[in-house]
C-alpha cells in the first residue's frame, strides 16, 4: 500500500493534535505494516501564520517521505474581520465568500495538491477539513481520499460548500463516535466507508517534584492542572474564572496551574498559575503530581491530554459540552464532567476529598486508553478502512473532480 498525506504542516516541531497524531500514524504504518507513505505539505510550522520557515524540497523523517512546498499565502489578518461576519449565519454564507474566507485563513498552496494528485499513491489521507489544503485536496482527489476531517460543530462546518467536500471523500476516519455522529447528521456521508480510528498516546517520563520546581510550586504542594493552549476558545479563561470562584468559596483549595503556550493573555494571581509552554518531562511530571486534570474546552475532536492524564495516573474533569472528551469519560468510566459552576464545585469537592474514587477513575481510564488506543489496534483499524475505501474506488465519485 502506498499512502499519501495532505496536511498543512508536518514535522516534529509541529504542535497540534491532528497533525501530531497523523505523523505518528504514518510512522507506525511504515514500521508495522510496511506501507510506503509520502507527505505533501507546506513549509509552515505555526498555524497562527503559516509562515514558510522550513526548507522546501523532499526529505525523509522516520521512514516517511516528506515533500514540502512554499505557500502562495499564509494566514491573512483580514480573515479575523471576515470571521466575525460569517459566524453569524455560516450556513447561508455564499460560496464565494466562504471560499474567500478559506483563502484568507490559508495556507494557500496549490503545489501541494498538484503533487498529491500526480503521485502514485493508492490513497491520500487529508486533514483537517477547515483549511485550504483539505478543502481543495478532497475536491480534487475525490474517492482516493481518506478524510481525517477532525470536525467540530463550529461555523466552518456549516459552510454550504462543505457538503460537497465531505461528500467527495472516499472514506472518513474519525477521532470519536461523537465526531462521526456530527458529520453524518450534517452531511449525507453515512454510506461511505468510515471508522473511528482515534489516536494513541505513550506515557512519557517525568518527575513530580522536578515538575513542581519547574512550575514554581512549593515541594509537595497540591495543585490542579490544565494542559493545552491558553486561549479563550479552549476554555482556559472560563476555567480560570471557575477556579477563582471555587477558591473564593474554598480558600484552602489548591491552586490551578495552566501549562501550554499562551495565545491569549491570561494573568496569574493567588489562585491561578500560568506557566506557558513546558518541556515534555515537566508536563508528564505535572500530570503525575496534580490532584486532577481539567479539560475545559468544548471544541476537542479527540483530546490527547485526557488520555495522557490517565496514563500518568490522574483523573480528569471535562466540559460536558464537549462531545469528544465526554465520550472518553463515559466509555471508560474514568472521568467526571461539569456543565456549570455548581457541577464543577461538586465534582472538585468530591475529587479532592476522595482518594479511592480518584484511584478508581484512573484505573478505568488507563485500562480504556491502553485497550482502545494502542498502536496495534489502531493500525489494524486503519488498514481495514483503507481496504474498504480501495474496494469502493471503482464506483464513480458523487462529485466530479474540480
Amino acid at each position: 500500500m502506498k499512502l499519501g498525506l495532505v496536511v498543512p504542516r508536518y514535522g516534529e516541531d509541529v504542535v497540534g493534535g491532528i497533525e501530531h497524531w497523523l505523523r505518528l500514524l504514518c510512522e507506525h504504518l511504515v514500521s508495522r505494516k510496511a506501507w510506503e507513505v509520502e507527505v505533501f505539505t507546506t513549509c509552515a510550522v505555526s498555524a497562527a501564520t503559516w509562515a514558510d520557515v522550513l526548507a522546501p524540497g523532499t526529505s525523509q523523517l522516520h521512514g516517511v517521505t516528506v515533500h514540502r512546498r512554499r505557500s502562495i499565502s499564509g494566514r491573512d489578518p483580514r480573515s479575523g474581520a471576515l470571521d466575525v461576519a460569517i459566524r453569524r449565519s455560516p450556513s447561508v454564507v455564499p460560496d464565494a465568500l466562504a471560499h474567500r474566507f478559506v483563502d484568507l485563513v490559508g495556507p494557500v498552496c496549490p503545489d501541494v495538491i498538484d503533487d498529491a494528485a500526480a503521485s502514485a499513491c493508492d490513497l491520500v489521507a487529508v486533514t483537517p477539513y477547515l483549511f485550504w489544503p483539505a478543502v481543495h485536496a478532497v475536491a480534487r482527489l475525490g474517492r482516493r481520499t481518506i478524510f481525517h476531517c477532525a470536525a467540530h460543530d463550529e461555523p466552518e462546518l456549516h459552510f454550504p460548500f462543505m457538503r460537497e467536500v465531505f461528500s467527495a471523500a472516499g472514506g472518513l476516519a474519525y477521532n470519536s463516535y461523537s465526531e462521526q455522529a456530527l458529520v453524518e447528521r450534517t452531511f449525507p456521508v453515512a454510506h461511505l466507508p468510515a471508522s473511528v480510528i482515534g489516536a494513541t498516546v505513550v506515557a512519557g517520563a517525568g518527575d513530580p517534584e522536578s515538575a513542581r520546581a519547574a512550575l514554581g510550586l512549593a515541594p509537595g504542594e497540591p495543585f490542579v492542572l490544565c494542559v493545552g493552549r491558553v486561549e479563550r476558545a479552549k476554555g482556559s479563561h472560563v476555567l480560570a474564572e471557575l477556579w477563582r470562584l471555587y477558591r473564593l468559596r474554598r480558600p484552602r483549595a489548591p491552586r490551578l496551574v495552566l501549562v501550554g503556550p499562551v495565545h491569549e493573555a491570561l494573568h496569574g494571581d493567588d489562585d491561578i498559575v500560568v506557566v506557558g509552554r513546558q518541556p515534555e518531562d515537566v508536563k508528564w511530571g505535572a500530570l503525575q503530581a496534580c490532584e486532577f486534570a481539567v479539560s475545559p474546552s468544548a471544541w476537542e475532536s479527540f483530546s490527547l491530554v485526557v488520555l495522557e492524564a490517565w496514563l500518568a495516573g490522574t483523573p480528569v474533569v471535562v466540559n460536558r459540552r464537549c462531545a469528544a472528551t465526554l465520550e472518553h469519560c463515559v466509555r471508560s468510566g474514568g472521568g467526571l464532567s461539569f456543565f456549570d459552576y455548581a457541577d464543577f464545585e461538586a465534582v472538585a469537592d468530591r475529587l479532592l476529598a476522595d482518594d479511592a474514587l480518584r484511584d478508581q477513575l484512573v484505573s478505568n481510564g488507563r485500562a480504556y486508553t491502553e485497550r482502545v488506543f494502542n498502536w496495534t489496534a489502531i493500525v489494524d483499524r486503519y488498514e481495514t478502512l483503507a481496504q474498504r475505501v480501495l474496494a469502493r474506488m471503482v464506483l464513480p465519485a458523487t462529485v466530479p473532480p474540480a
Binding site: G198, V238, Y341, R350, A367, V372
Partner: protein, 319 residues
Amino acid sequence: MATNDNGTSDSSGQMDLDRLIGELETEAARRRAEPGFPHDADARLHFELARRAPNPPRAAAVRDVMAQIQELTATVGTSPTLESAPGRSRRHDTGALAERLHRLDGQVTSLGLAVAAALEVVAGRLEQLDDRLEHLETPTPDAPPPPAPDQPDALPQWRARLAESLPRGERVLYAQSQADDVVAELRGAGVDAYGITSTGSPHRPGPDVRFADLLTHLRAVEDHALGAAVLTGVPEVMTPATLDPLVAELARTTSCVVIISEAPWWWRRRLGAVHADLAVGRPLDPETWFHAFDGVAMAGSAEYDPGGQSYRAVIRARP
C-alpha cells in the same frame, strides 16, 4: 469482558458511574438551592461556557420556510390556469393550496414572533448590563462577609418583633405565602391583621400571596385605608418593571411599610445596591427599597441580623 472492534467495554464494573453521576448532580442541585450560592457568578460563567460551546446554526428552518414560499409562489403564480389532476376537483386543489398557505403563515408568524421575543430579551438584557457597567465601582470595603453556610434561618426573630412596629386600631396587611399562623399571632397581639386568600384554599383561611395577587389587591384598596403593610418573602424579588407599580400602590394605601427579607443581601460586592438590584431576579437590598420609596415621599431605616441573612426595613411617609 466483552469488547467491540473499537474496544468499548464495561470497564467501570467496579464502580457504579451512573450512581456517582446521580449523586454529584443531586449535590450540585443542593448547592444551587442553598443560601449564599453565587448565582450571579454562576449565571455569568454559564453564559460564557455556553457561548464558547458548539451551537449549530438554525438557519435551516428559515431556509425551509423560504423554499416553501418560493414553491407556493410558483404554484399561486400559475393558479389561473391551474389544471386539476384527474379524479380531483379544482375546489379540492384550491382547498389544499389554502391549507398549505395557512400552515406556512403559521410557520412564518411563529418564526417572526420567536425572533421578536428573542430580540426583546436580548435588548432588555443589554440595557441592564449597560446600566450595571456604568455603575461599576470598586468593592465596598465595609461589605459584610458572606454568612456561614450553616447559618440558621433568621426570619423567626423578625416575626417575634413584628407587632412592635405596627399600629393598633388600623387594618394591617400581612403579605406572605402560607403565613396564616403569623396573621393569627398578630391578631393575638392586638393588631388588626389580615392576609390575602385569593390563591389559598377556601378551607384554609389565611394569607397566600403572590405578587400579582398583592398588586391586584392593593389596587382595590382605598387611599390610606391601611395602617401598615408588611411584605415578607415572595414580594421582595422584584424587577424594575414590577417594583415601581407596587411601591406606588403601597404609598397610596398606607403610610407605613415593613419589609422583612430573609434573602442574603451581601452579594452586592461590586455594584451599588440599587443598581445591582435592578438586575432581574435579585433579592432586593434595603437601599433599593429606600430608593424606590423616596420617589413617593417615604423614607425609612433598616436593621440587619448579625449573620447577614436577613433584614427588616421600616418605611414611613415623610411628615
